[in-house]
């Protein structure tokens, strides 16, 4: 019954291309009116998931409900409720901005597509470019037009596939604002991203997808608890020093890189602990050549989460 209340409900989704598994049993739910982020590296299966949910692709196994409708059985119903903003702007280069909007308005059977187009051109700051062919637009303008086209017909769920990939920081912030204001108006947002920061900024709920499986899910705050806090990188002059340091730090979580003569140490990230660590090495006569604190990257989250899933088994 739950899937009828949720905006999106997915259970046991599987998809393979030429026998290579891309999705290996993906399940999650998205609350109505929330922003949901599917976070993962290239090749994790994000676009495949979005293609299945937007009726572009059929899953091999599993169920997917969008706004209460089964995407495989009643794709027509789903298409009335959704919009997709893909990785590449889905605009018609040869038409003008206004014509692009009117085209979508006509196909969505809105009452007055000319009026709708006019309003959206104004809302997205494209009035001056309305009568120009889209091929003369800048990247940012194309993106804005693309989103404006996605809003026509008041979809209850909008899918964004990597909305900020390839955007400059200013356009990226603009995109974030747009997504937030859409959600504020009650639209459910499903987005995929490779950037932890983006998911953190926008999402009410994040699922981390890795090699076709959900490896972690929760609110940004919940996921941050999983992050290794203070990764510290220590570099040494020679192997002897490296060996000595490794010996001193036995019992702590360390990763050794012989080629770089470096040692990665996972700490709580507190000043007291770092001081203790360095004092310990100093007292043992180990010379630390370089010291760097590493901000946690998405890779770190993956590594951490994956190693934990393995431990549980």
């Amino acid at each position: 019954m739950n899937e009828h209340k949720a905006a999106i409900a997915v259970a046991g989704l599987k998809k393979s291309y030429k026998k290579v598994g891309v999705l290996k049993g993906v399940s999650f739910t998205v609350e109505k009116g929330s922003i949901f982020a599917l976070l993962g590296a290239n090749g994790a299966g994000k676009t495949t998931t979005i293609n299945i949910l937007t009726t572009l692709l059929k899953a091999d196994e599993g169920m997917a409900f969008v706004d209460g409708s089964n995407v495989a059985r009643t794709p027509e119903t789903v298409r009335r409720r959704i919009s997709l903003t893909g990785q590449f702007a889905a605009v018609d280069d040869i038409l003008t901005g206004r014509e692009n909007l009117e085209l979508i308005g006509d196909l969505r059977h809105v009452k007055d597509s000319r009026k709708t187009a006019k309003e959206l051109l104004k809302q997205f700051g494209l009035e001056d470019a309305a009568e120009r062919r889209v091929q003369t637009y800048s990247g940012g303008m194309r993106r804005r037009l693309d989103i404006a086209m996605s809003l026509i017909g008041d979809p209850s769920i909008i899918f964004f596939d990597e909305p900020t990939t390839g955007l400059d920081p200013q356009s990226r912030n603009g995109m974030w604002e747009t997504i937030k204001s859409l959600a504020d108006n009650g639209t459910t947002i499903f987005l995929t991203t490779q950037y932890l920061e983006e998911a953190d900024q926008l999402a009410d709920k994040i699922c981390i997808l890795n090699k076709g499986k959900i490896v972690a899910e929760g609110t940004p705050a919940e996921l941050k608890k999983l992050l290794p806090h203070g990764q510290v990188e220590l570099k040494f002059q020679n192997e002897k020093q490296l060996n000595a340091a490794a010996k001193q730090l036995e019992g702590m979580s360390t990763t050794r890189d012989d080629e770089a003569l470096a040692l990665m140490v996972t700490t709580e990230g507190t000043v007291a602990e770092l001081t203790r660590l360095l004092t310990k090495l100093g007292n043992a006569g180990v010379d630390v050549a370089e010291f760097a604190q590493k901000a946690p990257s998405l890779d770190d989250v993956f590594l951490k989460v994956i190693s934990e899933t393995k431990e549980k088994k």
Binding site: R79, R80, G86, E99, I104, L107, H109
Partner: protein, 253 residues
């Protein structure tokens, strides 16, 4: 009704593409016109002897019209192929728009723009001496057959456009159709052909279609091959339409 409406919306889009690339219409009409000039003024006098009392320009004009259509429909394949390789097709596919409207838009605009190209070529034919006694009924039948042929071959073009890996490859199939025109009674009477070639020419679709058009324009009668001509066109239309929709659905779902 909404399907027909959607098809027209998609056709308008595709017509805008056509109108905004006038060079494609010029490319479409220039080759048939050049061929017409070449055949009429260079080879025409030697063919004319075997034609009896028909002028060569009157003999060859139907083939030139068919050639114009065949060059033109390639752009339906090219435009569809361009759509498929760009993001916009995913927008259409995730919207409540029927595949028959998405493809039908291309078919409708291709038919309209090819009628326009054919009209241009016909005007040039008139300028260099083409004359006809055809009345309103014959002209209507002539236009009807041209529309039917254009629709049928356009859907064939769409089918090829769906299969094409590159935009450049999408239009290449029209060479097969051009080849069929040359191996028909379009440019020379089949009597003068080698027996094997003659058998082929008499039994392929271009010959009855061109001969019916020629009958309508020169003798003002529908001729003896009209039934076969229409059967070829309708058969091709039905098969190409059904296959195109099927391929589109399997390729996109």
């Amino acid at each position: 009704m909404s399907r027909l409406g959607d098809t027209w919306v998609m056709a308008k889009r595709s017509l805008r593409h056509t109108v905004r690339s006038m060079d494609t219409i010029i490319t479409v009409v220039i080759t048939p016109i050049a061929m017409m000039l070449l055949f009429v003024f260079v080879f025409g006098s030697s063919f004319e002897k075997s034609l009896g009392d028909i002028k060569y320009i009157d003999f060859v004009t139907p083939a030139i019209i068919i050639m114009t259509v065949v060059s033109g429909i390639a752009y339906a394949a090219v435009r569809l192929s361009m759509d498929l390789q760009k993001g916009i097709i995913n927008r259409f596919k995730t919207m409540p728009v029927a595949p028959s409207s998405i493809l039908g838009g291309h078919a409708t605009s291709s038919t309209l723009s090819n009628l326009f190209s054919s009209l241009l070529v016909l005007l040039v034919a008139f300028l260099i001496g083409f004359r006809t006694d055809a009345g309103v009924a014959e002209w209507l039948l002539f236009v009807g057959l041209t529309v039917l042929f254009t629709l049928a071959t356009t859907w064939l073009a769409i089918l090829f456009g769906l299969f094409a890996k590159t935009v450049e490859g999408a239009g290449a199939f029209s060479y097969i159709l051009l080849f069929l025109i040359f191996l028909s009674s379009g440019f020379t009477p089949v009597d003068s052909m080698h027996p094997a070639l003659r058998w082929f020419a008499e039994n392929q679709p271009m010959t009855p279609i061109i001969e019916t058009m020629r009958s309508l324009l020169t003798s003002g009668t529908i001729g003896s091959s009209a039934g076969i001509a229409i059967a070829w066109c309708i058969g091709l239309l039905v098969v190409a339409y059904a296959l195109a929709l099927r391929v589109y659905k399997t390729k996109t779902m």
